[in-house]
C-alpha cells in the first residue's frame, strides 16, 4: 500500500505537481478555495439565551432569510453511536449529540426566515427507526422540534427512507477515494444544506465538527457492514468501518466503487479524504457547531479514554464548513493548520487541509472573516481537560 500523496491528489492540488511534489504543496490550493464568514457566540446554557444568540450570529453572517427564504432546507444533526452508552450520567445531548434545543432553535429561526420546508436528517447508528423514535428513546420531545416552524419533518437517512431511489452525488474533480456517493434523497432534494454538529474530538480523525458530521449521511444499507452485496439492503446492519475505515468490504455494487484498490487502507488516511470529498459532493451552505455543552476526548464514550463532559459555552456558525471548523478547532485550543502527527491529528491527516485542497474552503483564520465574540475570549482547551484527567488519575494511582 502506498501512503503518500497520490497522483490524483497532486492533480487536485492546484497544479503544484510539477514544482513541489510533496505534502506541503497542498497549501497552494488554499489560494483558490473560497473565503467565508464565521461567527462565534457565547452561550453558556440551553436556556432563553439560545435563540437570541443564534439569531444574532445568523444576522452577522448576512441573515438567514437571504439563505433560506422560500427554500427547502436539510439540517443534518449529529446523533452518533450507541445511544445507550452515555458519558457518566450526562445525557447524550450534553456530550455527544446535537442538543434538541439547539435543533429546535435553528428550526425556529429557519421558519421565521421563511424556509418553505425544513427536513431534519440523520442516520442514527444502524437503525430503521424514525428520528422521532430515536429521540423518544432518549427522552427528548420531538414534537418541540416539529412544531418549532411550519413544514418540519424528520428523515432517517441511514436507509432509503421516503425516497424511491438513492441519489448519486459525485465528487467534483473525480474524488480521492470514491468518485461519488449514493445517499438518501434528502441530501439531493434540498436547496440549502446545513451541518448542525457538536464541538468534539474524534478517536480516528482528531476532530469531528461540521465536516465530519456529513460522514454520517452515508447510508449503512450501502456502506455498512451488513449492506447488500449487489444492491442496498432494505435495513441498516452494522457500522461503516469495514467500508470506510479499513476497505475490507466494498459498498454495494450498485454504488460508485473505490477509485483505486491499492490506496492505503488505514483510517487515518482514508477518513479525512472521504469526509472532505463528501463535503465536496454535498456542499455545506451553513455550518453550525453546538459547543454549549460537549465532551472531550472522543466522539462517543470509549470507556478507556480520558474523557469528560464539559461546558465550553460557545456556538460557532459559518457559511463554509472548512472555515467554520478551523474557527472551532481554534476555540478547542487546536491549530487548524496542524498536520498529521500534531494534536489533534495524532494518526490522521488533517481533513481541513484536504478540504482546502479540494477547494471547499480555507482553514487559515486570517483569510476568513471571523465575527462575533473574539475567539481568544472563548478558547476552551480540550487538551487541558485531558491533561487534568490524566493528572488526577496518576495522582490517584
Amino acid at each position: 500500500m502506498k501512503d503518500e500523496l497520490t497522483r490524483r491528489e497532486m492533480l487536485l492540488g492546484a497544479g503544484a505537481l510539477l514544482t513541489v511534489p510533496s505534502w506541503p504543496a497542498w497549501g497552494s490550493a488554499a489560494v483558490t478555495a473560497p473565503t467565508a464568514k464565521v461567527t462565534v457566540g457565547r452561550c453558556m446554557t440551553y436556556g432563553p439565551e439560545l435563540v437570541p444568540t443564534l439569531a444574532k450570529m445568523f444576522d452577522q453572517l448576512g441573515g438567514l432569510d437571504r439563505m433560506v427564504k422560500g427554500k427547502t432546507v436539510a439540517i443534518k444533526i449529529n446523533m452518533i453511536g450507541v445511544r445507550s452508552q452515555r458519558l457518566g450520567t450526562a445525557p447524550m445531548e450534553e456530550t455527544f449529540w446535537t442538543h434538541p434545543k439547539v435543533i429546535g432553535a435553528v428550526v425556529h429561526l429557519m421558519g421565521v426566515a421563511g424556509a418553505r420546508r425544513i427536513r431534519v436528517v440523520e442516520g442514527p447508528w444502524s437503525s430503521c427507526e424514525t428520528l422521532e423514535e430515536v429521540m423518544l428513546s432518549m427522552n427528548w420531545k420531538p414534537q418541540d422540534i416539529l412544531s418549532a416552524a411550519k413544514n418540519v419533518e424528520f428523515e432517517n437517512t441511514d436507509h432509503l427512507g421516503r425516497g424511491k431511489t438513492y441519489s448519486r452525488l459525485m465528487v467534483p474533480g473525480g474524488g480521492l477515494i470514491f468518485p461519488g456517493y449514493d445517499l438518501n434523497h434528502s441530501y439531493a432534494d434540498c436547496d440549502v444544506f446545513v451541518s448542525l454538529a457538536k464541538l468534539k474530538e474524534h478517536a480516528a480523525t482528531g476532530i469531528t465538527l461540521s465536516m465530519k458530521n456529513v460522514y454520517g449521511s452515508t447510508p449503512t444499507t450501502i456502506y455498512g457492514q451488513g449492506a447488500g452485496v449487489d444492491e442496498p439492503s432494505l435495513r441498516p446492519h452494522g457500522g461503516r468501518g469495514n467500508t470506510f475505515h479499513s476497505a475490507t468490504r466494498p459498498p454495494s455494487k450498485s454504488a460508485p466503487q473505490q477509485i483505486d484498490m491499492t490506496l492505503p487502507n488505514n483510517a487515518g488516511y482514508r477518513l479525512p479524504r472521504i469526509i472532505a470529498e463528501l463535503c465536496s459532493a454535498r456542499p455545506v451552505h451553513l455550518a453550525i457547531i453546538d459547543g454549549v455543552k460537549s465532551a472531550t476526548g472522543a466522539e462517543t464514550n470509549y470507556g478507556s479514554r480520558p474523557q469528560a463532559a464539559v461546558n465550553p459555552g460557545v456556538l460557532i456558525a459559518g457559511t463554509n464548513c472548512v472555515a467554520t471548523d478551523a474557527v472551532a478547532m481554534t476555540v478547542m485550543g487546536f491549530d487548524p493548520m496542524a498536520d498529521k502527527g500534531a494534536a489533534p491529528f495524532a494518526s490522521a491527516d488533517n481533513m481541513l487541509h484536504i478540504g482546502e485542497t479540494l477547494g471547499i474552503g480555507q482553514r487559515d483564520l486570517s483569510r476568513n472573516e471571523v465575527l462575533g465574540v473574539p475567539v481568544s475570549q472563548v478558547v476552551f482547551s480540550y487538551s487541558a481537560v485531558r491533561d487534568k484527567i490524566l493528572a488526577a488519575a496518576a495522582k490517584k494511582a
Binding site: S84, L136, N139
Partner: protein, 491 residues
C-alpha cells in the same frame, strides 16, 4: 434433609462410576481420578459447613459395570451427609436399569433420584425430571424440574458474535429458557445444570458468582458444578480456591436471603404467547434472548394458560406459534387488539382480520387496522430473529418505554413487580463479570418512592436517589457492579 423448595443442589462427582464415565474423555488424568476418589471421603463434606448447599447430586447408575461399586462406595458419604443435614440425589442415566436403580437409591437413603422423563408411579422416592429444556414434560408429577442443557453464562469468547446491529455484544444467559420454564410450570421448582467450560486456567470467582446469579435471578437454582482444578484445590484448602468458594456461597446466601421476589411477576408491556413446543421453543427462546439486549422487558404467557391470563397493562402481544390458536384464544387476542393493542402474529395466521393499512417497507410486518389497535402479520415464514424483535419494539414506540438502561452494554436486567406494582425488583446481571467505565443508569417512566441497591458486592444496601427528568420520568444512577445487583423498589 428432604427434597423441597429450600434444596440447594451441588454436583458432587466422586467414585468409580464418575471415573468410568470420564476416563475415556480427552484430558482425563491420574490427578483427576485421584480427586474423584478423594471426594468419596466423607471428610470432604467439610467444605459445605456454613454454606447454603444442602443437596448433593451424585452419579448413581449409568448402565455400566461400575454402577454397583459406585453405590457401595457412596455409603459412608451418604451416612455422613445425612448426619450433617445434607441429602443426596442420585442421577440415573444412560442404559441403567431404572427400576433397579430406583430401588437401590431408596434403600440407600437417597432423598431423590434424577432421571430423564417421568419415574414409575411406584418409585417410592421423589424423582426429579432431568431433561433438555424443550423435551421436559412440564405437567408431570416431578416436584423439581432440572434443565440439563443450561449454558455457562458470560460473553462468548468469539468476539464476532453480536446481539444484533446495536453494538451490544451477545451474552450467554439462561434467562430465556428459565422464563419459558417458569411460564409453563409455575408451580415447580427449577434447577438448571451446566458445567464450567474446560479451559487451561481456573474460572474466576466472578465467573462462578455469575453462574449462581444468572439462574437465581430468574427464580431457578444452579446445580453448582466446580471445575476439576477448583475441586482439587478445595480439598487441599488452597487459595484462591477457598476464597472463590466463599464468594460462590456468598452469592447463594444472598439469594436465599433476598427471596421476596419469588411471588413477583415479570413486568413488561409486551407479552409472548406460545406453547413453546418443538420449533416454537426455539423461536420463543430466541426472542426472549434478544429482547433484553434491546432493553425491552416482556412477559411470557403459556398458550395453555392464555385464555385465563390477564392482558392488563400490555401494549402488545406476540403470538409466536406456527399453529393458529383455538377459536376462544383467537377471539381473546383479537379483542385485545381491537381495544387498542398490537397483536403480532406469524405469517401462517389464517385470514387476517381488519383492513390492510400502510406500513414502512422495511418492516417485517404487514399491518391491519383493527378497532383501536392493529394486527401485524409477519411477511416471512423464517424472519431474521433480530430484525423481528427490533420491529416489535419499534412498532410499540419508545414513547411508552417503562424502563431504560444506559451504560451497561454487557448487562441484562430482569424487572419483576408485586401484584399491585407497589414493590418491585430489578435484577441486574453483568455478563462481562467486571465493572464498566461508568455505573449503570436506569430511567423509569413511573418511579417508585424509594429505591435501594442490594448486592453481595456491597457491605450494606445503598439508598438510591431519583433524578427527575424535564421530559418526565426519573433516573437512577447506580455504582459500578461487577456481577450482580438488585434494585429494590417500593411505593
Amino acid at each position: 434433609m428432604a427434597l423441597n423448595a429450600e434444596s440447594n443442589p451441588m454436583r458432587w462427582p466422586a467414585g468409580p462410576l464418575d471415573i468410568a464415565l470420564q476416563e475415556k474423555t480427552k484430558g482425563f488424568t491420574a490427578d483427576k481420578a485421584a480427586v474423584l476418589r478423594n471426594w468419596l471421603d466423607p471428610a470432604t463434606l467439610g467444605i459445605l459447613q456454613g454454606t447454603p448447599v444442602n443437596t448433593l447430586v451424585v452419579s448413581w447408575a449409568s448402565g455400566l459395570a461400575a454402577d454397583s461399586e459406585q453405590q457401595q462406595a457412596l455409603t459412608p458419604l451418604i451416612e455422613k451427609a445425612r448426619e450433617s443435614g445434607v441429602g443426596l440425589v442420585g442421577v440415573i442415566e444412560g442404559e441403567a436399569n431404572t427400576s433397579a436403580a430406583i430401588a437401590t437409591a431408596r434403600s440407600a437413603g437417597l432423598i431423590a433420584v434424577a432421571m430423564e422423563g417421568e419415574a414409575p408411579a411406584d418409585a417410592g422416592i421423589p424423582a426429579i425430571q432431568r431433561n433438555a429444556d424443550a423435551r421436559i414434560r412440564w405437567g408431570g408429577k416431578s416436584p423439581v424440574l432440572s434443565l440439563s442443557n443450561g449454558i455457562w453464562p458470560g460473553i462468548p469468547q468469539d468476539v464476532n458474535q453480536a446481539g444484533g446491529p446495536t453494538n451490544l455484544p451477545w451474552v450467554d444467559s439462561n434467562g430465556a429458557s428459565l422464563r419459558i420454564a417458569r411460564a409453563l410450570a409455575p408451580e415447580k421448582d427449577m434447577w438448571i445444570e451446566f458445567n464450567p467450560p474446560q479451559q487451561a486456567t481456573a474460572q474466576t470467582a466472578e465467573a462462578y458468582m455469575l453462574a449462581v446469579a444468572d439462574p437465581a435471578s430468574y427464580g431457578a437454582r444452579w446445580v453448582v458444578s466446580l471445575d476439576d482444578g477448583l475441586r482439587a484445590d478445595l480439598t487441599a484448602k488452597k487459595q484462591p480456591a477457598m476464597d472463590t468458594w466463599k464468594k460462590v456461597n456468598g452469592m447463594m446466601a444472598f439469594f436465599k436471603e433476598h427471596n421476596q421476589s419469588k411471588n413477583y411477576e415479570p413486568m413488561g408491556r409486551l407479552a409472548l404467547v406460545s406453547n413453546f413446543a418443538g420449533e416454537d421453543w426455539d423461536r420463543g427462546e430466541e426472542t426472549l434472548n434478544l429482547l433484553p439486549r434491546l432493553r425491552e422487558p416482556a412477559r411470557v404467557i403459556a398458550r395453555s394458560r392464555a385464555a385465563s391470563a390477564s392482558f392488563e397493562g400490555l401494549e402488545a402481544i406476540y403470538y409466536t406459534d406456527q399453529e393458529p390458536p383455538d377459536a376462544a384464544l383467537r377471539a381473546k387476542l383479537l379483542a385485545f387488539a381491537r381495544g387498542g393493542g398490537i397483536l403480532f402474529v406469524p405469517s401462517k395466521w389464517p385470514n387476517p382480520e381488519g383492513a390492510p393499512t400502510a406500513a414502512e417497507a422495511y418492516l417485517l410486518f404487514t399491518l391491519h387496522a383493527l378497532g383501536k389497535g392493529r394486527l401485524a402479520v409477519c411477511k416471512e415464514e423464517q424472519p431474521d430473529p433480530y430484525d423481528l424483535t427490533a420491529d416489535l419494539q419499534t412498532m410499540m414506540s419508545h414513547k411508552y418505554d417503562p424502563i431504560r438502561l444506559y451504560n451497561s452494554s454487557s448487562m441484562n436486567f430482569f424487572y419483576e413487580t408485586s401484584a399491585q406494582g407497589k414493590q418491585g425488583v430489578i435484577h441486574l446481571l453483568n455478563y462481562s463479570r467486571r465493572p464498566a467505565s461508568d455505573g449503570p443508569l436506569f430511567y423509569m417512566k413511573e418511579p417508585h418512592r424509594t429505591a435501594r441497591l442490594v448486592s453481595p458486592e456491597l457491605a450494606s444496601p445503598t439508598e438510591l436517589q431519583w433524578n427527575p427528568q424535564e421530559a418526565g420520568g426519573s433516573e437512577l444512577s447506580l455504582p459500578k457492579i461487577s456481577v450482580y445487583g438488585a434494585v429494590e423498589l417500593a411505593s
